[in-house]
Symmetry: C2
Subunit: 304 residues, 2 copies
């Protein structure tokens, strides 16, 4: 006959919390990683190996308790329950801890080494639209401009990095949020494709349009991501910015956000996307009834 006895497992030393990872089973993480079978896709194996190791190290490093872990589980469940076609709360949760900006940087660097457009187009972000019709140069992309908006004229020239000469047939996409912080597809009050423009350069390589001097807006803060921001004693605003995509056959596209140097929140963008090189100046514009400011923004494209 077998006899078993349960004895308390707390026979370890009485050391305080933190620091000493050795107090937990040192073979556990390898056991979980090694459970992956031989048919696992190699790239998935690489990703899961790194993810499991970091998640376990995180838990050990801060002595994460069941209650604390369960708070995280509940937060993640609520993110999914809040998400739909119009809103992606898990994405926003990643954004406020800088993960989207980081994978953007990673993807951009990989894309710089790659030659396929598919890879490169991955960093367009959630508000890009593929189906914006071409506009004439100098078009005003703002329909029914709100009273609190400041119109601006944006213009520049696209040149080849190799020859220094103007590039024709470059598609320039511009998109921005309205003064209420919403992109047109988020806002039933805005006309379809409002504050979006697609332009094609002529032989002189130039583009021009009227848009809005961009304004700061808060990321949606009525869900778990907003709760986390609040818990971390942070504010939800993004600084004023405009999105730009410039692409041309045989060249590497440029996809970026540019930030107004006079905007608030440049130093504490809630999603950490600001870099010095992306900060631009809107100058006062004279003699133009349609715009009080202007932005001169040139683009240089490299060959594939």
């Amino acid at each position: 006959m077998s006899t078993h006895t349960a004895v308390p497992e707390d026979t370890l030393n009485g050391a305080g919390r933190g620091g000493n990872l050795e107090r937990y089973d040192p073979e556990f993480t390898d056991k979980v990683i090694n459970a992956m079978g031989p048919k696992t896709n190699p790239r998935l194996r690489t990703i899961m190996t790194s993810l499991i190791r970091h998640v376990h190290d995180f838990a050990r490093e801060c002595d994460l308790t069941v209650d604390e872990w369960m708070m995280g589980v509940n937060m993640i469940n609520r993110c999914g329950q809040m998400s739909d076609d119009k809103r992606n709360e898990s994405q926003l949760l990643c954004d406020v801890i800088g993960l989207e900006t980081l994978v953007d940087e990673i993807t951009f660097k990989l894309a710089g080494e790659a030659t396929d457009l598919a890879t490169q187009s991955a960093i367009l972000g959630p508000f890009y639209r593929h189906d914006v019709p071409l506009s004439e140069m100098g078009t005003n992309i703002s329909d029914n401009t709100p009273n609190d908006a400041v119109p601006a004229y944006m213009f520049g020239k696209v040149t080849s990095a190799k020859t220094g000469k103007p590039l024709a047939n470059v598609e320039i996409d511009i998109w921005q949020a309205s003064t209420n912080g919403l992109y047109e597809q988020q806002d039933p009050e805005q006309k379809d494709c409002n504050l979006r423009g697609r332009f094609k350069t002529g032989p002189n390589g130039e583009y021009s349009l009227y848009c809005l001097k961009p304004t700061p807006y808060p990321v949606p803060d009525d869900g778990p991501a907003g709760e986390l921001l609040n818990l971390m004693d942070r504010q939800p605003f993004r600084p004023a910015h405009i999105h730009i995509l410039a692409q041309c056959e045989g060249h590497k596209p440029i996809i970026t956000q540019i930030f107004d140097k006079d905007s608030k929140f440049l130093d504490d963008d809630s999603v950490f996307a600001v870099k010095d090189a992306l900060v631009v100046t809107f100058d006062p514009r004279k003699g133009d009834k349609l715009a009080q400011y202007e932005l001169h923004y040139d683009v240089v494209l490299k060959s594939m």
Copy 2:
């Protein structure tokens, strides 16, 4: 007048993927961590600092792209959308990468050093119930026993680690899944509190009951956690086990799962909870029409 020029950012070396974390902005992670304001709760600051650092290191270490990250975001959203009162898919997703077992280990060790029952009760798991009525010794906790079940007799003695003598007034809780893999609260076909028993030891410290020889069951694999198991070329089953809680005033409780040594999946528990010390033997039982097997399981409790 200001003039700005967008130039391609891919001016880094052409090094291949992986390994070199230095190719990405080395100051980015500190910037995100340092964004936490002074009013952040100190424990949350510790947790978020470690989490942000490990999540960023993970992304850099495997050169995580936007598309790969977005697959993870979608998986997490689907976990939340699938979760409700009866099912917690984000918890299950953690379970299959070993996180629940790890935080159990951490919490158990912390609880061993703590003196408050609140901390210790955190590791009871999702299927424990506080409201099970006391049963007489020798009760059969299986109602309407399924045809494919094998009845077993479980018994033992609770003693004090300090004195070696029997402990009276110890509450022993036992709970297990039925042969269909479901605990009673998951299964409308089972009677309330089926396969649960709560017993209180007398002066001899002994307890006894009839239950089922436990059987393996798969974790629910029709959601994202099941997809991940499949992608990792792993199987969803847990080995046969019984849950036990033993508690008594003035003593540290014992909360554990014990595993049948003859069960399949002892070496590949889908949630990694098996330890050698928790594997027990069910012996054939003679002369008892009510049970074909018996388990002798003694418990030793330490003082607080």
